[in-house]
């Protein structure tokens, strides 16, 4: 097989994995911008999305079109509960304490998921069949198109929300300066709550659309969360396009690296990029040092 076909295959695989990283990364950024903390439970929202969908499909025998939105709603409520129970009572704590709390929350959620469901890996049926689609020598599954499509829709919605709605604008105001935002009448606490809900919703959807390809288990959140975090760092913790590009770059580099160099370095690639960015360009690949983080 020609190298160009191989490269195209690596590119396509990388883009669909990258889209997932991007969605998770945006979840990190939204919470970071609203609260100044890194929510390490983000990966668990992703896991919950997949596991909850599976539960609704298998235990309650709901059809897919009902299970997916319902699972997203439930995880959004978990996000709400998480903020209420773990973050809000300690609003005056330092960001580092809050970050540690999110790590504890992640371990708790993971443990509960293991107890409620089980330790096994589970498969979710693909949304629309699994007949491969040929594309100039490379192949894609219909699920890849779902991933790319849903990512585009979500990113656009996200953009619209932050630029064209009162709540979105208020959240941006909080990210610039919470105190000033509070003074002009923005309810900062509500915005923090909202940020957790949006992040949980986006994370869970990412977990759902990727589950038919990669399968899901109680512990998938750790790695996906870390990769999403890398994407957010590359994008300079922006909740806009640069995190999306960060995720895509990460996905493509991983896939190319695994195909052309060695798959042993796949995860190493992600974390080397993370370290390099943190050392050299902590403001992100595209950010100017004093850039706006929205």
């Amino acid at each position: 097989m020609e190298l160009s076909h191989q490269l195209l295959q690596y590119l396509l695989s990388g883009l669909s994995t990258g889209a997932i990283y991007a969605l998770i990364g945006i979840g990190f950024s939204i919470i970071y911008n609203a609260t100044g903390i890194i929510n390490f439970a983000q990966g668990e929202f992703v896991m919950l999305g997949g596991m909850m969908t599976l539960f609704l499909l298998e235990a309650l025998h709901l059809p897919l079109w009902a299970a997916v939105p319902l699972a997203v709603c439930i995880v959004t409520l978990v996000g709400l509960g998480f903020e209420r129970l773990a973050i809000r009572p300690l609003r005056n704590a330092s960001p580092i304490s809050l970050v540690i709390i999110t790590i504890g929350g992640a371990i708790l959620i993971r443990g509960l998921a293991m107890l409620i469901w089980d330790k096994d890996t589970h498969a979710i049926p693909p949304f629309s069949g699994d007949e491969p689609i040929m594309l100039a020598g490379a192949t894609l599954l219909p699920q890849h198109l779902w991933i790319l499509g849903i990512t585009v829709v979500l990113i656009s919605l996200n953009k619209w929300f932050f630029n064209h709605t009162i709540s979105g604008k208020a959240m941006r105001a909080c990210s610039y300066n919470p105190r000033a935002a509070g003074l002009v009448g923005v309810d900062v606490r509500r915005m923090v709550l909202l940020s957790f809900m949006i992040s949980a919703a986006m994370g869970s959807l990412a977990g759902i659309i990727v589950a038919p390809l990669t399968m899901t288990a109680y512990d998938v959140g750790i790695m996906l969360g870390l990769k999403g975090f890398c994407a957010a760092i590359i994008g300079g913790m922006s909740s806009g396009l640069s995190t999306v590009i960060g995720g895509l770059i990460l996905g493509v580099l991983e896939s190319m690296g695994a195909g052309l160099i060695s798959s042993g370095y796949k995860d190493a690639i992600a974390f080397i990029i993370l370290l390099l960015i943190l050392f050299i360009r902590p403001q992100g690949l595209f950010g100017k040092p004093e850039s706006e983080r929205v």
Partner: protein, 380 residues
């Protein structure tokens, strides 16, 4: 002074009495070390369930030579340090005469020095060939060596006149051991490994590796790993339209793999213990009756299908039982009797132990199976 002597004497008598009653009650204590939680829980859970079930059955049937058996199980969580602590506890506190387990090769290697020092027979449920090679006096194992599975696949390929293979192994202990054996035995069977690639145990997309393999000269792909990786690979291979036949290891020989991989599992072949095809085995297979009994018992006890992994614990308990019947319920007696066991038709295969072979199995312990219509059939 007289008074003190009296109390002492009566105390001693009392002590003696309790000791003798506990002997009279005659419980034989056997230890179990299984990774019931943690990453290898898919091994440890069926092993523990099976061991409990077999011991219950033995007791219901009147025990071993009239003595009841007590199974003391500890969870190692797949952690070698914990396995060592628990092994010490079994030996020092519970005073077991033999230990079944641990579930993984890493844990077993860590426990070996303890049992060798304390002279307690250990029957490991892990597969790594280094457990019994070189032979250690008190260490036996019931899981089939990886090399036997590799031999089975290579012989199958030889029969089908294919000699260029790609191997894709998981980067953990199981995969590393498989990779080592695949490479070591390739020459002997005239195999040429044209692609040698790995994937991480948590990887979720292997299309990059498979694309590389698709572009190579390989005639067959051998994947060495435990769920879920191989299921992802099966799906990716289907997506990429990979034409070459796909072989897996015995690490995925449970229905779980078929349910994870779905349609992508069709046509995949793998060497497996005979338990999953027990109902379609030829009548003259010496293991058939043991296999059918095990499958039926497990199904009625736990309402799920018994697998290959639980079978390792079945063999472990039954071997200890056989050894106690022959050599008595002491560690030394069990060890000596184990070494003399011949033609023991268990779940994992037909065991023939000797002073130089504490693994006891040949490649006939495996059978090549193929997945057809979401079920196992014997591969032709």
């Amino acid at each position: 002074m007289k008074f003190r002597f009296k109390t002492l004497a009566s105390a001693a008598a009392l002590l003696l009495a309790t000791v003798s009653t506990s002997f009279a009650a005659g419980t034989i204590k056997i230890g179990g070390l299984f990774a019931v939680t943690g990453p290898p829980a898919f091994l440890g859970e069926p092993e523990r369930n099976t061991a409990k079930m077999v011991v219950d059955n033995i007791n219901k049937a009147g025990g071993i030579k009239g003595q009841k058996v007590e199974l003391v199980v500890y969870d190692t969580a797949g952690d070698a340090t914990k396995a060592v602590q628990m092994a010490t506890k079994l030996i020092k506190d519970d005073k077991v005469v033999a230990i079944i387990g641990p579930s993984t090769t890493g844990e077993t290697m860590a426990v070996i020095p303890v049992v060798e020092k304390e002279k307690i027979p250990l029957i490991s449920c892990a597969a790594g060939s280094k457990i019994t090679d070189p032979v250690k006096p008190y260490v036996f194992k019931t899981a089939q060596n990886d090399s036997l599975a590799v031999t089975k696949i290579y012989e199958y390929l030889q029969q089908h006149k294919q000699n260029k293979v790609a191997i894709l192994t998981v980067s953990d202990g199981f995969g590393a051991s498989g990779r080592e054996q695949l490479k070591a035995l390739a020459g002997k069977h005239g195999m040429q490994i044209v692609v040698d690639d790995t994937y991480g145990p948590k990887d979720t997309d292997m299309t990059s590796q498979l694309t590389k393999i698709r572009g190579s000269q390989a005639q067959a792909l051998i994947v060495w790993g435990t769920n879920p990786g191989p299921a992802v690979i099966a799906k990716n291979a289907k997506q990429l339209g990979l034409k070459m036949p796909l072989f897996m290891s015995h690490g995925v020989s449970s229905k779980k793999f078929i349910s994870l991989a779905g349609d992508a599992a069709e046509g995949i072949k793998l060497p497996s213990g005979k338990v999953i095809v027990s109902d379609v085995l030829p009548k003259n297979d010496p293991q058939k009756s043991a296999l059918l009994t095990y499958v039926k018992d497990y199904q009625s006890h736990y309402k799920v299908e018994g697998d290959h992994f639980g079978g390792h614990a079945w063999d472990g308990v039954m071997l200890v039982k056989t050894a106690i019947e022959k050599g008595g319920a002491t560690p030394e007696g069990i060890r000596n009797a184990l070494e003399g066991i011949k033609d023991f038709h268990g779940i994992g295969g037909t065991f023939n132990f000797s002073a130089n072979d504490h693994a006891g199995l040949t490649k006939d312990a495996f059978i090549m199976v193929e997945i057809r219509n979401k079920d196992w059939v014997i591969a032709k």
